[in-house]
């Protein structure tokens, strides 16, 4: 660990060898503007906004990808540097659709920030902005090419983190665009709807399909009974948009504001997360006992489901038939809940607040209507809910906290941790252990499957059986495990896969930015919710027990099968 002595703006600094100029500057609180740089991604060095002057170098150097060397003398604030940065951003602005006021990223846009920070008061170059049609062919994601600044972050996340490759750099020179093949709609390529591209976009070139107006419409319709469910990961992230620290738990405030907005009932998706554990845990045991297809893989992440349908259809039988908690909720809301409260299911509208963009596509899958109606009607991302709150004028900071409504209001710590990678696995094992052994699980914190690592493994003795499990988050990590299965090298019983890195707390519908540091804080929040719960195992949830008694009968029973389980379909990557 050699140190390197350098000088930045006349200040002597000693930093570790291999540090980049950008990192070294950060250390001494010098802010350097960046656009293509993203802390969770590979270095790109293509926007050139972060250039600095290095003594002895004929040209300005990009600070993001230039490592410091012994004796380097750096200037970050010379006239030459300031003018170059300004000119580069002006070039970007000349080609950018600058309708900021109506842009989804207004006030949360890296380009806007940089323009302000650099003091850009005019653009000297001709406007060369291209009028490109909005691509809203995809049920989850909208692309606006006229806003794209070609930083390449979305391409990286789609190809390298998710292993999908729905978009790529097309053409060259100023005709270069980031787009699907043939510059056709995003529905013509195997996009899995994960929305990770949205999370890394520095501007408003990619965003979720807007369902806010659809929801306002049903809320205004007095003939409708509108219920809403809130996913586990939303409660630890939405606060960021209102000045709370990442990971702050604002569950009670969300319930309260959803009621104020006008939802008739506010329910907790954690309830059906608990229910998923019962069904999925029993499915696993059933497969193990009856020689069913193993390893079994989780099915709560719709981005993952779409991925496996496209890229590994031969493994579809390994995927649990359990619907995701969102869909279990929808099916129950329009059956059990409707019957119990004597509401005509035809008039029930189910809205979900999800950290996820793929949920928008999940709810419109053909088979997701086991209640006799489309089980879930509208999905709003965390970000969309934030916009609704702004539109409604409610001050979340001052609002009182409220509890979720019955019958889907009582939940356990096991359900809470669904929001983080490894959570479903941990929750399932808490239940499976006790079902199989009949003994109480003493240490319920299965820390080996927690954390931000891409792939995690564990072996847990459950009675006579050593249950081998694996957890993958991010689809490229999933790919590694799937290839192992195909090669016969994976002797796991149970695998949890989440499409998004970090799990749902890093979902494609979450507040931006959501880099690794933020994700870790959200994760802490998730485990704090777990800790704060009196009941931390799904099978101990009294409301779940009551649901089986009153309605479902038994896990994997007839009604469960009809309402809570589903099937998948092989999808052709490209029709030839």
């Amino acid at each position: 660990m050699d140190n390197v002595n350098i000088t930045i703006n006349g200040v002597a600094v000693s930093v570790k060898k291999g540090t980049t100029i950008l990192e070294a500057c950060k250390k001494i609180n010098i802010n350097i503007p960046t656009l293509c740089y993203h802390p969770d991604q590979e270095l790109k060095g293509n926007c050139r906004v972060c250039v600095v002057e290095v003594e002895g170098q004929p040209r300005l150097q990009p600070s993001c990808c230039t490592p410091v060397t012994q004796g380097m003398v750096i200037k970050t604030n010379s006239k030459r540097v300031r003018e170059a940065r300004k000119a580069i951003v002006e070039l970007i602005l000349a080609a950018h659709n600058c309708n900021c006021l109506t842009c989804i990223r207004n006030n949360n846009c890296e380009l806007q920030n940089i323009s302000r920070e650099l003091g850009i008061d005019s653009v000297r170059f001709d406007n060369v902005e291209e009028i490109l049609p909005l691509d809203n062919s995809n049920p989850s994601i909208v692309r606006d090419g006229s806003k794209c600044i070609k930083c390449g972050r979305c391409v990286e996340v789609c190809s390298k983190v998710q292993g999908v490759g729905a978009i790529y750099n097309i053409n060259r020179s100023h005709d270069m665009r980031i787009a699907p093949a043939y510059e056709e709609g995003l529905n013509n390529v195997p996009c899995v709807y994960c929305g990770q591209c949205i999370n890394v976009c520095p501007v408003g070139a990619i965003y979720e399909k807007n369902d806010i107006n659809n929801v306002w419409k049903v809320l205004d319709d007095k003939s409708k009974h509108v219920v809403v469910q809130v996913a586990p990961a939303v409660r630890v992230s939405i606060g960021e948009e209102f000045g709370f620290d990442a990971g702050s738990i604002v569950t009670g405030k969300i319930v309260s504001l959803l009621k104020r907005i006008g939802f008739d009932r506010v329910f907790d998706t954690n309830f059906t997360a608990d229910l998923t554990i019962i069904e999925e845990g029993n499915e696993l045991l059933h497969r193990i006992k009856n020689g069913g297809k193993l390893p079994m893989m989780t099915s709560c992440s719709p981005g993952w489901i779409r991925y496996v349908e496209y890229f590994y259809p031969e493994l579809l039988e390994n995927v649990s038939t359990c619907k995701s908690p969102q869909q279990m909720f929808g099916a129950l809301a329009k059956s059990y809940y409707a019957e119990k409260y004597k509401i005509n299911p035809e008039n029930i509208v189910v809205v979900s607040i999800m950290p996820c963009t793929a949920k928008k596509a999940e709810c419109i899958r053909d088979e997701m209507n086991d209640s006799g109606y489309q089980d879930v009607d509208f999905v709003l991302t965390t970000r969309e809910l934030v916009r609704m709150v702004h539109q409604s004028g409610i001050n979340i900071n001052k609002i009182e906290e409220k509890d979720f409504d019955d019958p889907f209001g009582i939940t356990t710590g096991a359900a809470a941790i669904f929001g983080a990678t490894g959570g479903v696995m941990e929750a399932a094992l808490r239940t499976v252990y006790e079902i199989v052994t009949g003994n109480e699980l003493k240490n319920i914190n299965l820390t080996t499957v927690r954390g931000i690592d891409g792939i995690k493994e564990a072996e847990i003795p459950v009675g006579d059986l050593n249950v081998k499990v694996a957890v993958a988050n991010g689809l490229n990590n999933a790919k590694i495990i799937l290839d192992m299965i195909n090669e016969g090298k994976a002797d796991y019983h149970f695998i949890e896969i989440m499409a998004c890195p970090g799990g749902c707390i890093g979902g494609g519908g979450q507040p931006i930015p959501g880099n690794i540091e933020v994700k870790k804080q959200r994760m802490d929040g998730i485990y704090n919710v777990d800790k704060s719960k009196l009941i931390r195992k799904s099978h101990k949830n009294p409301a779940i027990i009551k649901l089986y008694e009153e309605y479902l009968g038994e896990p994997l029973g007839h009604k469960s099968h009809k309402l809570l389980h589903t099937h998948y379909a092989k999808r052709e990557l490209y029709e030839v």
Binding site: L43, K44, G45, N46, C47, R48, V49, V51, R59, L60, P62, C65, T66, P67, R80, A84, A87, I88, L91, I92, A94, A95, R124, F125, D126, V128, K150, G152, N169, N171, R172, S173, H174, D175, M176
Partner: protein
């Protein structure tokens, strides 16, 4: 043709017999059986050979960088992506004596410890590609390539790859991307290719002409080799000369000749009765020099002092019939077409330059446009990611310097060459 190109056209390019009878593979045998690998590198270093592709980086140093890397596999790439407009000297060498280039590759492989090589040839030369493939196959059959070359421990194989029409792939990292099957967009450096090149492994990338020098350096010895050329620039240089000279073509010259000598003594002067107006040295990415500067010597040090690069060694000679702005416009359209689109200054800068130039040529330009052009050019030079964007504005900047009055005339609505759709003639100043 005095040194490296002397076999071109003299022997049948695919006749191994011809090649051997003319000293072919003597250098390889010397390197294999009489020299240690360090000695090979020392010899190349001592020869003062500088890269002939355009950057003029000392070849011996490059060899040493790759040799000192520890890696399970190292690669050698022969850069035959001769894309610089007006440059066709590598084609002459590749078509004329492919074995010699491959011999240079094998000796380099021995020196740096590389086991696999690629010849990356531009897609525009399909016949040359076929020829190279045949040459490689012949050498494989004859034991000069493959396992245990000439019965020694040296194992080295070569694959021929092609580009598909992208100037930027002449830049070594873009070329590597292209071999890897990607869109050829340059990578940022460091890491340098010597450390992390093809598939992240240490990679030596050398131009065709650089490689063909290596057998000569080894067989002649560096001392003898250095007798060619000047102190700062040893050896010879192939120049591709085009434009309005009487005899266009590729010529091998010793370093130290002046541009004027080359035009008059080698190319037979100008073919028309007009005066030379300018020479662009180094291809489209090179400086445009006015007639007053033709006594510059082709010598790295001398050119360096003037801030001029020799580039690939292409020379366009233009006479008075040519309008500087219209000529530069052609050049800038080329760069606009060839920019890979990755970095902002090059992607956006080139299109604005073209827009502004068109405006000026149409007589709608202003003095502010001239200032803007300089600002964009300086920005591209200063901040572009790779050599393409950094050197693209050279022609524009140098003509704005040396032919300033013609730009001003166009702003005023005149084109002295009568090419642009403006009034013919010039403004009389003062």
């Amino acid at each position: 043709m005095i040194l490296v190109s002397k076999l071109c056209g003299k022997i049948s390019p695919l006749s191994l017999k011809d090649y051997k009878e003319n000293g072919g593979f003597e250098a390889l045998e010397k390197a294999l059986f009489k020299m240690k690998t360090e000695q090979i590198i020392d010899e190349v270093r001592a020869s003062n050979l500088k890269g002939r592709g355009g950057a003029a980086f000392p070849t011996g140093l490059k060899l040493q960088f790759v040799a000192s890397e520890k890696s399970d596999i190292k690669y050698i790439i022969c850069n035959a992506d001769e894309g610089e407009p007006g440059t066709f000297k590598d084609k002459i060498l590749l078509d004329g004596c492919p074995f010699q280039i491959i011999e240079g590759m094998i000796i380099s492989a021995l020196a740096v410890g590389a086991s696999y090589g690629y010849i990356y040839i531009r897609g525009e030369y399909p016949q040359t590609k076929d020829l190279l493939k045949k040459a490689v196959n012949i050498l494989k059959e004859e034991g000069f390539l493959g396992k245990n070359i000439l019965g020694t421990d040296l194992c080295f194989d070569i694959e021929v790859r092609t580009g598909a029409g992208a100037y930027v792939c002449g830049e070594e990292t873009a070329l590597i991307e292209s071999i890897e099957g990607n869109d050829g967009r340059s990578r940022f450096k460091p890491p340098y290719t010597a450390n992390k090149g093809l598939w992240g492994k240490p990679t030596l990338v050398n131009n065709v002409e650089t490689l063909i020098n290596i057998p000569y350096i080894i067989s002649l010895g560096s001392e003898e080799y250095k007798k060619f050329g000047t102190k700062s620039s040893s050896g010879t240089k192939l120049l591709s000369i085009s434009g309005c000279v009487a005899n266009k073509g590729v010529y091998e010259i010793e370093f130290g000749m002046t541009i004027r000598e080359i035009i008059n003594e080698i190319c037979g002067g100008v073919e028309t009765d007009k005066e030379i107006k300018f020479v662009q040295l180094g291809g489209s990415s090179g400086a445009v020099l006015p007639a007053e500067m033709l006594d510059i010597k082709i010598d790295f040090d001398e050119l360096n002092k003037l801030g001029i690069g020799l580039g690939s060694g292409a020379m366009f000679v233009g006479d008075e019939s040519i309008c500087i702005l219209d000529f530069v416009k052609t050049t800038m359209e080329f760069f606009k077409h060839e920019s890979c689109g990755k970095c902002t200054p090059c992607r956006e800068g080139n299109r604005h330059i073209n827009k502004i130039l068109n405006r000026i040529i149409e007589g709608k330009g202003s003095n502010r446009d001239l200032e803007l052009l300089v600002d964009i050019c300086e920005l591209m030079k200063d901040t572009s990611l790779c050599g393409l964007g950094q050197s693209a504005p050279t022609a524009l900047l140098t003509t704005m310097k040396y032919f300033e009055e013609e730009y001003k005339e166009h702003i005023e609505g005149f084109c002295r060459a009568g090419i642009c759709n403006l009034k013919k003639g010039a403004v009389v100043y003062g």
